[in-house]
Amino acid sequence: MSAHSSDTPPALRPDLAIIARNVQPVTRVLDVGCGDGALMAALRDQRGCDARGLELDPADVAAAMARGLSVVQGDADTDLVDYPDDSFDYAILSQTLQTTRRPDEVLDQLLRIGRRAFVSFPNFAHWRVRASLLFGGRMPVTRLLPVAWYATPNIHHVTVDDFRALVKARGIHVEESWFLSGDQRTGSAFANVFAEHAVFLLRKDR
């Protein structure tokens, strides 16, 4: 019945692999927008974490439940308020920030629920995106942003520098950050141009 027991875990998406490697073992984790639970399963099986999930899509919730994970169907924009303060060691929001109606409020909720938060997002200031807009004059459709402007779930495009400014303005401390170009790490200094993906580990200064 449990089809997952002896399977080799599939490779995680690069930003998820970074998060999985940097979550302290045997901690309590809330994965907001957990999809089918790939990261949660890795955290449970490889790090001994008590992982819980929140996911909008019922098919993904069912898939995660079939992996034996505890996942609640819900919306990051409206349902995070129902979680108690400091109830998790980490709150994780991977590739979801740019799809929320109020990313700033979601960020506040993450750091209210979790003592720390991992946030990953695609960088809208990557040079390929810039080139597409500059030379093509059209909203970019790239490998990482594959959906046309009218159908994309990404309603709040964000750049690495935008995000840095937001966390600074809200008194959020960046403990660590990672930047990806394709599957490879790239430097922090020019991340706003060369990073396709960013992963931040945040902590609220209290």
Binding site: A66, G68, V71, Q73
Partner: protein, 373 residues
């Protein structure tokens, strides 16, 4: 185990009790009708209790003795089904207060030798659960692998986790709620008044001459049945279509198909259910408020134990809508309990949990399977 008379279809156990009821009465002895399917593992660790709804019974996957119809959840319980009787030992118990073999108003009061009728004590959902726990003691089952139920069955599963957290490893709560709302109580009161307004009810003493308040009970069922369906479902099935006629009759016959359907639902119900039992069980539902039992805070109901929870709601269920399931999920999150929740799409309203639903099958299969890890 095959020779063990405790196990199999249509069993009845008479347990000495006493069972202390929430209303203060000591009930003794207690008759409990039940069925079991599959084999109990040597460590008794594979037992799943399936809890039935208001007018359900213990014939969960076997032919109903009165109607001859297949069990009410035969599509969920059986060999190779999500609640797989090849893997699990499945128990279904006729609830206390019902009329299919367990102690209730239609059973004999041992003190008088007569049928209880309205002298039967008022019972609660928790009383039903305590009676089930007594049966598990009798069957030699210390801890359930899972308690599973829809509607009132879901309330029993919740009450199990709150009352006996050390005796239930996981709870599956489908299309249910942690308390009865004012609207829920209101619909039940309509049904009870319909029964009690039937001149044949006679204060509940109608058993002797076999002349029960069938008209009142049928109306109660008709009103309740509307709450089990959705407006969209009724419109799709009946719309304003006329029943076996080309034009309205300008009279009060069942002109509309939906009227004919409801009348049929009411009439067929009275053949298999007792009016007094209907009064008692609806009362138990109306009294149900799990938060009230725990100092007014629902999360407190789940502070003890390590039960895993799976909640499912249906988007067109307006009897126990998704918001009721979310209330439970929030309480479980506040209590730090492991909980999964999904709202499934269905046009069929509250009744969806009894009907074909591959998504529900998948969720339950996955959740139960994960409990074996």
């Amino acid at each position: 185990m095959l020779d063990d008379a405790r196990f199999g279809l249509s069993r009845t156990a008479t347990l000495p009790g006493p069972l202390r009821l929430d209303g203060g009465v000591l009930l003794s002895p207690v008759d409990i009708a039940y069925e079991t399917y599959g084999d109990l593992a040597p460590d008794a660790g594979n037992a799943i209790l399936v809890c039935h709804a208001l007018t359900g019974d213990h014939h969960v996957a076997s032919e109903h003795p009165v109607t001859g119809k297949p069990g009410w959840w035969a599509r969920m319980v059986g060999p190779g089904k999500p609640i797989d009787t090849d893997r699990y030992f499945v128990i279904c118990v006729n609830v206390l207060g019902s009329c299919l073999g367990s102690s209730g108003p239609a059973s004999v009061n041992p003190a008088t030798g007569k049928l209880w009728a309205m002298a039967f004590p008022v019972i609660t959902i928790r009383d039903m659960v305590r009676a089930q726990a007594m049966l598990l003691d009798h069957l030699g089952i210390a801890k359930l692998f899972a308690a599973v139920g829809g509607s009132m069955g879901g309330m029993q599963a919740l009450s199990w986790a709150a009352t006996f957290p050390e005796r239930v490893a996981s709870a599956v709560v489908i299309a249910s709620a942690a308390r009865h709302s004012a609207q829920n109580i209101a619909f039940h009161e309509v049904g009870r008044q319909a029964i009690m307004a039937d001149h044949r009810w006679r204060g509940g003493d109608y058993y002797a001459d076999n002349d029960p308040p069938s008209s009142g009970l049928a109306v109660a069922r008709m009103a309740a049945h509307i709450t089990y369906l959705s407006e969209a479902g009724l419109t799709a099935k009946f719309g304003r279509k006329l029943q076996s006629r080309d034009a309205k009759t300008f009279g009060f016959d069942a002109d509309f198909q939906v009227e004919s359907y409801l009348r049929h639902q009411g009439l067929s119900f009275v053949d298999r259910f007792d009016a007094n039992s209907y009064l008692y069980i609806t009362r138990a539902l109306d009294y149900f408020d799990l938060a009230e039992e725990h100092g007014g805070t629902l999360a407190n109901a789940f502070k003890r134990g390590d039960t895993r929870f799976c909640l499912v709601s249906f988007d067109t269920d307006w009897l126990y809508p998704t918001s009721e399931s979310r209330t439970i999920v929030h309480a479980l999150n506040a209590a730090g309990a492991p909980v999964s929740f999904v709202e499934l799409k269905s046009p069929f309203g509250h009744d969806a949990f009894l009907l074909e639903s591959p998504e529900l099958d998948r969720v339950i299969t996955g959740f139960l399977g994960a409990g074996e890890r």
